[in-house]
């Protein structure tokens, strides 16, 4: 099928529209001029300065620690949930209830989830100071939206596995733990890895949940970038953003490969 030149140019224009902002940021991360937007020549100096900026280094550490810890927890909870829901004969009503609960974090706007979390931690703070704004509430918040995505990905993998493999394992007298460890989990690994990568990217992608649950010592990169739009954006911020964008690019392409191979 041929597309008219009008459609093609609108399409290319729309793509350009998506990429123009990132290209501008990348371009200005190599600009020597500190203030203003005149071109002062090419430099890698801002990237070098990043390595010496304690606030940005700490934010980078927090961002990855948060994504790592929450992904581990969410992958564990989500995989168990998927195994329970997909491979056990629940009554239709119970199953529908569990599915509804699972879809809830997917359809809830992130601002509403953030509001609910603020309220939950507000009351939990009366019980324990662990729930003061900071790292733990951020992890809890991220896990809350990640669990559902992991569970849904693992469930779709479970559905694609042939029943005969399970039956063969049981015919050979595998106990449930044996069967999980040596048959089901190895078969599920591509699904679990894909779910975990999705969860990790979702965590890196999040701003709203972090914004409402972070404390002064648990700033992440998106929070620092947001704060700098008030204080004035520096070329270092362009450099950080370019790095985050490049990392996302690598993760998405890697994830794409993994899922296509496992499919």
């Amino acid at each position: 099928m041929r597309t008219s030149w009008v459609a093609s140019s609108v399409a290319l224009g729309a793509l350009a529209f998506l990429y123009l902002p990132m290209l501008a940021v990348a371009l200005f991360s190599f600009n020597k001029t500190r203030h203003g937007l005149s071109w002062g020549g090419f430099t890698l100096g801002w990237y070098a300065r990043l390595a010496q900026d304690p606030a940005i280094l700490e934010a980078a550490r927090n961002t990855f620690l948060l994504a790592g810890v929450s992904t581990l927890l969410a992958t564990l909870l989500g995989t168990l949930f998927a195994l329970g829901l997909e491979r056990h004969p629940f009554a239709p009503r119970v199953r529908a209830f569990l599915e509804d609960i699972l879809h809830l974090p997917v359809v809830t706007p992130d601002l509403i989830l953030a509001a609910a979390l603020v309220v939950a931690f507000g009351f939990l703070r009366a019980v324990s100071s662990l729930f003061e704004p900071g790292f733990l509430p951020m992890v809890i918040g991220h896990v809350t939206f990640q669990v559902a995505f992991v569970a849904l990905v693992v469930m779709s993998r479970l559905r694609s596995l042939p029943k005969e493999l399970d039956e063969a394992a049981r015919d050979l007298y595998a106990t449930y733990p044996d069967y999980l460890r040596r048959v089901l989990l190895p078969l599920l690994t591509p699904g679990i890895v894909a779910g975990a990568m999705l969860a990790f990217t979702l965590s890196l992608d999040d701003f709203v949940i972090s914004f409402f649950t972070a404390g002064p010592t648990s700033q992440t990169l998106p929070l620092i970038i947001y704060a700098s739009t008030r204080r004035g954006i520096t070329p270092e911020i362009h450099a950080v953003s370019t790095l985050v964008f490049s990392l996302t690019l690598v993760l998405v392409l890697l994830g794409e490969r993994l899922t296509r191979r496992s499919a």
């Binding site: 041929r2 793509l15 902002p21 990132m22 168990l80 004969p89 509403i112 609910a116 603020v118 985050v244």
Partner: protein, 301 residues
């Protein structure tokens, strides 16, 4: 309950299977109940409470928060909140429409590529979708700055004063919103466009239908499933957006999302924030309901 069954090759009883299933589901279930469902439900009684002098919650039953939400504040009646509500609906609507207008040509363009290049273009659409929204939005602050080509062009055309940035403005908000949501529209729409039967469009053209009729009778009915998913994926989150209007709209262009953020973050007034959140939840549920009703019609067609 003790009837013996064979389940995935396992000789067992239904009761023990259900018990094991519940045990597996339980940690995740309790987590979601504790941190999403319960606090979400708590927003309802909270919206009738009051804020104490130190930001604490005073449990009473008053409609004060809802009166305030409608504009009856301490300083008398003001239209600001109602305008923000209407603005939210209108921004979400126009964002969705603009995204659909851009997504159709893009989806057809991708379909027309050879198969290998289709993946490349789809990846190009997905990558910005995975990039942090704060980065994509502040990047427009950079692009719309006075020294950059867009502002210069607008100044040369006499649209703005020379040396002025193009943000904060309604225009900048729409630019930011379309950047944020275009991938949400393109991906589901493409899945419909890819499977489309072009002979139906050709049939309309053979019967001397112009491009408008070709779209209405040939393209639209076939791509409606993808379009409705795209509309929901765009419209619902667009209503709850606060990053884009915050960074590109300024104080004069507030949406419900900004009001919620201010209530929880700046004013520490949870009861008022809860009332605002419930309004947003209500709008979300309404949109999903419309989608469900409409979605059924799509299935019949």
């Amino acid at each position: 309950m003790s009837k013996v069954v064979v389940w995935y090759g396992e000789l067992t009883t239904k009761g023990s299977l259900v018990r094991r299933g519940l045990a597996l589901v339980m940690p995740g279930l309790l987590w979601l109940l504790a941190f999403l469902v319960l606090p979400g439900l708590l927003l309802i009684p909270l919206s009738f409470a009051e804020r104490g002098a130190f930001g604490e919650v005073v449990w009473t039953f008053s409609l004060e928060n809802y009166r305030r939400l409608l504009g009856f504040g301490v300083l008398g009646f003001s239209l600001d909140n109602l305008l923000a509500l209407l603005r939210t609906l209108s921004v979400a609507f126009w964002t969705t429409l603009l995204c659909a207008l851009l997504a159709y040509p893009l989806a057809f363009f991708i379909r027309a590529q050879p198969p290998r290049r289709r993946y490349l273009f789809l990846a190009l659409v997905i990558i910005p979708f995975w990039t942090n929204l704060v980065i994509r939005t502040y990047a427009w602050q950079l692009l719309l700055a006075p020294e950059m080509p867009f502002a210069r062009l607008a100044a040369a055309l006499g649209l703005v004063e020379p040396g002025m940035a193009l943000y904060p403005s309604a225009f900048a908000v729409y630019v930011g919103m379309v950047t944020a949501f275009l991938p949400f529209m393109v991906l589901p729409l493409y899945s419909s466009v890819e499977r489309m039967d072009l002979s139906l469009v050709e049939a309309v053209q053979d019967l001397y239908g112009g491009p408008v009729r070709a779209f209405l009778h040939g393209v639209l009915p076939q791509t409606l499933p993808g379009l409705t998913v795209g509309v929901i994926l765009t419209f619902v989150p667009a209503m709850g957006m606060f990053v884009v209007p915050d960074l590109l709209g300024g104080a004069k262009y507030l949406l419900v999302g900004n009001l919620i953020q201010q209530a929880f973050y700046t004013m520490r007034d949870w009861p008022y924030g809860a009332a605002l959140s419930l309004v947003l939840i209500l709008l979300t549920l309404l949109a999903l309901r419309v989608y469900r009703r409409y979605g059924k019609e799509v299935d019949l067609a």
